[in-house]
Amino acid sequence: MGDCAIQNHIRRLRFDHGEMTQQALADEIGVTRQTVNAIELGKYSPSLEVAFRIAAVFGVPLDEVFRYGDRPIDSAGASWRRRTRRA
C-alpha cells in the first residue's frame, strides 16, 4: 500500500472530539489500536464497513474522514488499467 492515494483526517477528528485516543476509537469501531494507527498513517486502507463506522463515531459524512488524495480518480483508474493490461 505504499502508493495508497487515500488520505484521511482521523487525527484531526480525534483531536476535535476531546483528544479521543486511538484505543477509544478502536474500541468503538471494533478493531485494534494498531489498525487505527495504520489507517491514520496511510499504511492500511480500511474496508467500507470500518470506514463508515469511523465516520459514524465522529458524526460526519464519509468524505469528511477520507479523501482520494490529490490525483483525479480518472487518472488513477487509467494507471490501474495500464498495470492490469501489462499483467
Binding site: 500500500m1 489500536r33 494498531q34 495504520a38
Partner: protein
C-alpha cells in the same frame, strides 16, 4: 507492538533457531558424525523444546495484554495473515516439487522426509516473515 506482531516474531525466531539446530543435527546424522539413536533423541528433544518455547513465550506475551490476546483478529490482521499464507503456499509448492525431484537424487525415505519437513518449515518461516513485514511496513 501488537500481540499478533509479537506472536509472529516469537514464531519466526523460534522456528529459525530451533529448526536451524534441528536440520544441523539432521545433517550430522546424514554425514555419520553422530550416532543415529543419539541424533534421533536430539531431534525429538528439539521438537519438544520448540513446542515448549512457543507455549511459554505466547503465554508470557498474552499475560501482558490479555484482552488483546483473546480478541478476535480484526480485518487488517486477517488480511495480513491471508497475504502471508498466499506467499508461503507458493514457497511450499516449490519445496514440494523440489522434494519430488529429490527422488532422482536419493532413494532414502529419511532424506526425502527431512526435505519435506524443510519445505514446510521454510514456508512457515516465510509466512511469519511476510506477516512481520506487513505489520511493520503496512499492507
Amino acid at each position: 507492538m501488537s500481540f499478533r506482531e509479537k506472536s509472529a516474531w516469537i514464531s519466526f525466531v523460534s522456528i529459525l533457531v530451533v529448526f536451524g539446530a534441528y536440520f544441523w543435527n539432521a545433517n550430522r546424522i546424514l554425514q555419520g558424525a553422530v550416532e543415529t539413536h543419539r541424533g534421533f533423541v536430539i531431534s525429538v528433544g528439539l521438537l519438544a523444546a520448540f513446542v515448549l518455547i512457543e507455549i511459554v513465550l505466547h503465554v508470557t506475551v498474552a499475560m501482558q495484554a490479555p484482552e488483546e490476546a483473546l480478541a478476535p483478529k480484526d480485518e487488517r490482521e486477517q488480511l495480513i495473515e491471508l497475504k502471508a499464507t498466499r506467499v508461503a503456499f507458493q514457497v511450499l509448492v516449490v519445496g514440494a516439487l523440489a522434494g519430488v525431484a529429490m527422488m532422482h537424487i536419493t532413494r532414502s525415505v529419511w532424506v526425502m522426509g527431512q526435505h519435506v519437513l524443510l519445505a514446510i518449515v521454510f514456508a512457515e518461516l516465510v509466512k511469519f516473515g511476510v506477516q512481520i513485514r506487513y505489520f511493520r511496513g503496512g499492507v
